[in-house]
């Protein structure tokens, strides 16, 4: 069983009755590292935003991203229906959905820019402003709230040195409140970028933040980076 860098990221090795590794619980070994251009078009619209270095000026869409964009278009009867996956893809490349990004996506999908703005602002996951390297989303909805979620949120704000919703000066963390993340059996559930951190308690918060910053430097930071077995990430 692989050693976790800190206790209780929510796999059953530390909670519950099952004797499993992190990879086994998250399915990381099963998933592997999918190529940037995606695999079968059927699954292309499900990709998370991979955390390469974000480039707000990057061209939409080039190379493997263009391939993924084309694959997405084949799955829907209208170009408009590809809007959510394409906005996801654009956010993956540029880090957030700026007005320029909305305009460019509108152009690509033959929609009006105002329409794209209307759709992009409806959904919470499209960042309208740049966010820190680690977007920390703490669930404070009822099940986690009953088990101390608000203290966990306070702990994140304190230890990251952030105001809620704002990015820290060094660009490391943005801490926000999230609605139910569907991890209610593992309170408090925190989503950081694309990974769920479950069973988070106030005590663990400083170590989580430290771990996030020290595991930087690898090509893919988090989320899909989790697809690499823990040992490969060079953690002790």
């Amino acid at each position: 069983m692989s050693e976790a860098p800190f206790k209780n990221p929510g796999w059953a090795g530390n909670v519950g009755e099952y004797d499993l590794t992190e990879e086994q619980v998250r399915g990381l070994d099963f998933v592997g590292i999918p190529p940037l251009e995606g695999t079968h078009p059927a699954s292309v619209a499900a990709y998370p935003y991979m955390l390469e270095e974000k480039d707000p000026e990057a061209h939409l869409f080039e190379g493997p991203y263009e391939t993924r964009f084309e694959k997405i278009l084949t799955r829907y009867p209208t170009r408009q229906a590809a809007l959510l996956p394409v906005l996801n893809l654009a956010q993956e490349v540029r880090g957030h959905v700026s007005p320029e990004t909305m305009d460019r996506v509108a152009e690509l999908l033959e929609l009006s820019a105002a329409y794209v703005r209307g759709v992009a602002t409806f959904y919470t996951m499209y960042n309208k402003r740049p966010v820190g390297r680690h977007l920390v989303q703490v669930c404070t909805n009822i099940s986690c709230n009953l088990c101390g979620a608000e203290e966990v949120l306070e702990a994140f704000l304190e230890h990251a040195g952030a105001e809620i919703g704002e990015t820290t000066a060094d660009g490391a963390f943005t801490v926000i409140e999230a609605e139910c993340l569907a991890g209610c059996g593992f309170p408090t559930c925190v989503q950081i970028n694309s990974r769920y951190y479950e069973n988070v308690t106030v005590e663990e918060v400083p170590r989580i933040l430290e771990h996030l910053e020290t595991s930087r430097g690898s090509a893919l930071e988090d989320g899909i980076d989790g697809a690499r077995p823990t040992a490969e990430r060079g953690e002790s």
């Binding site: 009006s112 105002a114 329409y115 703005r117 209307g118």
Partner: protein
């Protein structure tokens, strides 16, 4: 056909009628915001909910189709209670700034709350504030007053088919906006969102704080700014036109008018008017009364050498006026009757409405002039083409056109220069006779639109001083020359028109009514 009962009244309507439409048929207006007959029905304002016996919930009457034997109550306790409840939510964050809101007096929120809302608000909470947002063009948006009916968004998307408006954000943070600062610049029909906004969220910048709705008189008229002939209402107060609003006509303009037309009414209020007949005697202009002026003119016409008449008319004047001039020309031995009209490079269609466009001819009665046998001259600015008149030695007669580009002393070689116009003209200030007439807004009459449809308008303003309709004074003059009475009413004057134009045979003012009537005139092949 389906028979149902609404508020105790049994009615029969076609099968796919909605309950709301059926109720309108018996004069019951169910309160509503998001429904509009020219747009889709999302049933989201929740104001039109009515009780249908036997159902578990109240149903939205704007989308629920009638069913045989349905028993509907729009004023039952549950319907009224629901309405009161929903209205309370509408007011929860409303600024209640009626004293400074232009919509006051024609506001659906005011009316519905007055009729069926609570007397006092129960909210003790701070209101959310959006403030004012200039959408560009003539449209100003006040987010706090908005009831989120999305009529404006749907108009731009479905009717103009330029989706420039959207709802931004969600929940009670949602607000109408454009794509950031892009605004409504590209739109040509955006003014209609101000009309369809049920509250004062979207207002006209041109009309901002100009007049109170209840002070305005509405007169049925026709937009004079192109040859589509959109039906409008002129809203006036103190003998000034303050705005032009579309009047519904399914055959011509549906529910809409374009921004180009809507914004061009100020010329009806222009001050430089001829208000008394003027006769030029020995280089001096003398004002005098009509009788003297017309008698003098009649004598001069009868005394003249029999030179031909060359006339220039304006397509901004009615069929009745134009036909009176043509009859006069005939009575004087005949001659050419010309007209000029500004003309745009392109049409500006409204994509979602077949047959509706801002036409190339930027005057209301071009077709009318053509059908009466007038010949077009001049360029697309409505200038030039006056060669036939400038050196003419006979009678020069100008109706309406102010010859802006010409200098004083127009047609110096003419035996007689007669200007029958509403506005002062430098070129014609030296005319032998200047006869003051009313604009179309100051008289009854008809225009014929590009498709040959004859449409009536009514007087919204009082002409200045001694100004009179051209058909009246010219008709009197022709009559005197032929020793008979001229027409004494506009309807009679129109009969004269129908005698001159084959395509109008059988038309009468009654037949035309306030929605117009097609004539037999063949529809032009290309857009004019």
């Amino acid at each position: 056909m389906v028979t149902l009962t609404i508020d105790g009244t049994e009615i029969e309507v076609p099968a796919s009628t909605t309950i709301l439409q059926a109720a309108q048929g018996i004069g019951t207006e169910v309160p509503h915001y998001c429904y509009h007959p020219g747009l889709s029905s999302p049933a989201m304002c929740r104001l039109c909910l009515v009780e249908v016996e036997g159902g578990p919930k109240l149903l939205p009457s704007c989308t629920t189709e009638v069913a045989a034997g349905q028993v509907v109550h729009t004023q039952s306790e549950s319907a009224l209670g629901m309405r009161r409840g929903v209205l309370e939510f509408y007011l929860a964050n409303h600024p209640l700034d009626c004293p400074i809101c232009d919509q006051s007096g024609e506001c659906d929120l005011q009316d519905y709350v007055f009729e069926g809302g609570r007397e006092h608000g129960r909210s003790r909470e701070a209101k959310r504030v959006f403030g004012r947002d200039d959408f560009g063009g003539d449209v100003l948006f006040h987010g706090d007053r908005c009831v989120m009916c999305t009529r404006c968004v749907r108009f731009m998307t479905e009717v103009e088919q330029k989706p420039l408006l959207t709802v931004v954000d969600r929940g009670n943070r949602s607000v109408i906006d454009t794509f950031f600062e892009e605004g409504l610049q590209q739109a040509e029909w955006a003014g209609n969102v101000v009309d369809i906004c049920p509250v004062g969220a979207l207002v006209s910048k041109d009309f901002l704080h100009k007049a109170r709705a209840w002070d305005l008189e509405h007169t049925e008229s026709i937009c004079p700014n192109c040859s589509q002939g959109c039906n409008v209402d002129l809203h006036t107060r103190d003998n000034l036109v303050h705005r032009m609003k579309p009047r519904t006509n399914p055959e011509v303009n549906g529910y809409w008018i374009c921004d180009y037309g809507r914004s061009r009414y100020e010329w009806l209020n222009r001050g430089e008017r001829l208000d008394a007949p003027v006769v030029r005697i020995e280089g001096r202009n003398d004002a005098m009364g009509w009788t003297t002026a017309l008698t003098t003119l009649q004598e001069r016409l009868q005394e003249r050498a029999s030179g031909r008449v060359r006339a220039l008319v304006s397509p901004f004047w009615s069929n009745e006026d134009l036909s009176a001039v043509i009859r006069l020309v005939d009575a004087l031995g005949g001659g050419e009757v010309l007209y000029r009209s500004p003309r745009a490079e392109e049409e500006v269609p409204l994509a979602g409405v077949a047959g509706l466009a801002r036409r190339r001819d930027l005057a209301p009665n071009v077709r009318g002039a053509e059908l009466l046998g007038c010949t077009r001259v001049g360029d697309d600015e409505g200038r030039g083409g006056l060669e036939a008149l400038t050196d003419h030695e006979g009678v020069v007669l100008v109706l309406g056109d102010t010859l802006d580009e010409e200098d004083e002393g127009f047609a110096p070689n003419a035996e007689l220069v007669i200007y029958i116009g509403a506005y002062g003209s430098t070129a014609l200030s030296t005319a032998d006779f200047q006869l003051p007439i009313t604009t179309f807004a100051e008289q009854e009459g008809t225009f014929t639109n590009h498709a040959g449809r004859v449409q009536r308008f009514w007087p919204a303003l009082a002409g200045p001083g001694a100004a009179r309709p051209a058909w009246l004074v010219i008709g009197a003059l022709s009559g005197a020359l032929e020793e008979q009475e001229g027409p004494s009413g506009a309807g009679e004057a129109f009969q004269v028109v129908t005698e001159m134009v084959e395509a109008y045979r059988g038309l009468t003012y009654d037949a035309i009514g306030s929605q117009g009537a097609s004539s037999e005139a063949p529809v032009p092949v290309a857009g004019d």
